[in-house]
């Protein structure tokens, strides 16, 4: 594991340096805005510094992983003194956990300098956004592992963001998950538990994605779904997830017409997914 971390860090040293410089630049902007232009700059920027920096860093990380695939670094790393599982864990630590922790740390330090009284709020805020980012990253990691071509990875990630990640992240309290009043007495406890559930969910997704990464061969890079036994589940998931999303968003009373109307878009998306996943060869000819 140490070898894996060391090797990946050495290869990505310049990207890490650039990302850190960008974070420091934003920290300087945050500091100057606090001291010099208090009335001009937006208060929101100071409060959201930690989540903003970690989001930017995770976006850079996502681009880095795509870049690894384009430049065939990933395939070379498979030949190295590290296992596929170690490579996966290394990326999770260096590209996801480390940015979240470092940005939170920077945020806490900046808050101690500028608004020491609100440091507890900032820690709580960073913890919640950190868990949310961690969950988003876990879903992205699963998509990046299972889906082959770059553009399909990006499209699937956007789809997942709309139909899976966003609805889950809107769950602010534990009662909203179970639809029962379990912890009515404490909002803080409810928020804490909701985030623990999201964190737990993220860990499961990461473990699953990590397991898949050990089963996927580099030659499947052009396949929409890189493990053939996941092809049908992916097609079915596209339909079910979008259908549920549309039904949940439905405000009118539940009738057959509403259900059928809400099936149109999922059906289209499912057909499109099916075509890309299975690449059916349709013979369009009048010849007998």
């Amino acid at each position: 594991m140490r070898q894996s971390m060391k090797l990946y860090f050495v290869i990505k040293k310049s990207q890490f340096t650039m990302a850190l410089l960008l974070g420091l630049l934003l920290a300087v902007v945050s500091l100057t805005s606090s001291f010099l232009w208090q009335n001009i700059t937006v208060k929101y920027f100071n409060e959201q510094f930690g989540p903003l920096v970690s989001s930017i860093w995770i976006l850079i990380a996502a681009a880095t992983v795509l870049n690894d695939q384009i430049k065939h670094l990933e395939t070379w790393l498979y030949t190295q003194n590290i296992s596929r599982k170690q490579l996966f864990i290394t990326r999770v630590i260096l590209l996801i956990i480390l940015p979240i922790l470092v940005s939170s740390l920077m945020d806490i330090i900046l808050t101690l300098i500028t608004h020491p009284n609100s440091v507890c709020d900032i820690i709580a805020n960073d913890a919640v956004s950190g868990v949310q980012l961690f969950f988003m990253a876990s879903v992205m990691a699963l998509v990046y592992t299972l889906i082959g071509p770059i553009w399909m990875k990006i499209m699937t990630a956007i789809f997942m963001l709309i139909v899976v990640i966003s609805p889950i992240l809107t769950v602010e309290k534990i009662d909203h998950i179970f639809h029962i009043k379990m912890f009515e007495h404490s909002d803080v406890l409810q928020t804490f538990l909701a985030n623990v559930v999201i964190l737990f969910l993220a860990l499961i997704v990461f473990i699953f994605a990590g397991y898949l990464s050990t089963k996927i061969s580099a030659d499947t890079i052009d396949n929409a779904v890189r493990l053939h036994y996941f092809r049908w589940p992916v097609v079915i998931f596209a339909f079910v997830s979008l259908f549920i999303t549309l039904m949940v968003g439905n405000r009118s009373s539940l009738t057959i017409e509403v259900v059928l109307n809400n099936m149109i878009l999922p059906a289209i998306i499912t057909v499109v997914t099916f075509v890309f996943v299975f690449k059916p060869k349709l013979k369009l000819t009048w010849d007998k």
């Binding site: 070898q3 060391k6 090797l7 050495v10 290869i11 690894d68 430049k71 065939h72 670094l73 395939t75 070379w76 498979y78 030949t79 190295q80 003194n81 590290i82 296992s83 170690q86 089963k215 996927i216 061969s217 580099a218 030659d219």
Partner: protein, 301 residues
């Protein structure tokens, strides 16, 4: 130290590319891997090195499962030549990476070779010429000091002078460090002067392993036949490499006494035995296919 490849099979896009590939590589030998275009040479390298997961089979290194023990992986160096991430870095940066990746990386030798061939240390490899890129990849491969070095078409794009220097480098490295080198190449003439033996990849497997010395029954002749038509037995028992009028160059896959007697007969005005190279043995191995193509061409005409 021996690398044993056992029953490696690999399908890509539902097409069998490798089927039950078996062979062994010994310390300090240079082996050539030949096969027709698309025969699966690169897939074989990629599967052995761990880039691709084999569907079946194993690779053993000194009795240990190579693919299951990552710590063994710095004993083998393979990088896909035309498409690789190294191109986006300078030799200086690559040195830092390789030092981390390969515990025995020979930094001094690497620096010396970079200097000897006048490669710009601060420039990204992708800005090098095709030949210089290939040369750089060979330098990195050997600097890794991995016991096994797999080179895929390493001499491709190199000019004659550099090619000779590279060939000399390969031989020197094998002699000095007892490295085992496997060279995949289409250029059989080039391999003749380099390799100890050749692994022939045919019909998705290592069809046979041979060295020129082991193939005494393969013979090459240049001859001039007397009649108007080519004697039928030539087509049946050999592969015609070239024919200009009555003059034919032919390789016999299995040269038996009967063929010798026929060649000495009145049907031929002139018969001369030529030295056999790996390319001739390769041709002889594909004799049946070559004959089928000839037949098809004749039907089309």
């Amino acid at each position: 130290m021996t690398l044993v490849v056992e029953n490696i099979s690999k399908k890509i896009q539902n097409k069998t590319v490798l089927h039950n590939v078996n062979f062994e590589l010994h310390e300090g030998e240079i082996a050539g891997l030949v096969g027709r275009n698309g025969a699966g040479k690169t897939t074989l390298f990629s599967t052995i090195s761990g880039e691709l997961l084999a569907d079946f089979g194993r690779v053993g290194l000194d009795g240990l499962e190579y693919h299951k023990i990552p710590s063994l992986h710095d004993q083998l160096f393979y990088i896909n030549m035309p498409e690789n991430w190294l191109s986006y870095h300078s030799p200086k940066k690559i040195k830092a990476i390789m030092k981390t990746a390969y515990k025995n990386f020979d930094e001094t030798w690497y620096d010396l070779e970079i200097k000897r061939f006048g490669l710009n240390n601060g420039r990204q490899i992708r800005n090098y010429s095709k030949g210089m890129r290939a040369l750089f990849m060979i330098i990195v491969s050997f600097a890794s000091r991995a016991q096994y070095v797999f080179l895929d078409e390493p001499l491709d794009g190199l000019d004659v002078l550099i090619r000779d220097q590279v060939k000399q480098m390969i031989v020197t490295q094998v002699t000095e460090h007892n490295t085992t080198v496997v060279i995949a190449s289409q250029n059989l003439i080039e391999l003749d002067t380099l390799v100890d033996r050749i692994l022939l990849l045919k019909d998705q497997t290592i069809d046979r392993t041979f060295s020129v010395e082991d193939n005494k029954n393969v013979k090459k002749y240049q001859l001039a036949f007397a009649g108007d038509t080519l004697p039928a037995f030539l087509r049946d028992s050999g592969t015609i490499i070239a024919q200009t009028g009555h003059i034919v160059t032919i390789v016999f896959n299995n040269f038996i006494e009967d063929i010798g007697s026929k060649l000495a007969g009145p049907d031929f005005k002139f018969v001369e035995e030529l030295p056999v190279g790996s390319e001739d043995i390769f041709r002889a191995s594909f004799a049946k296919e070559a004959y089928a193509w000839q037949q098809e061409l004749e039907v089309e005409e």
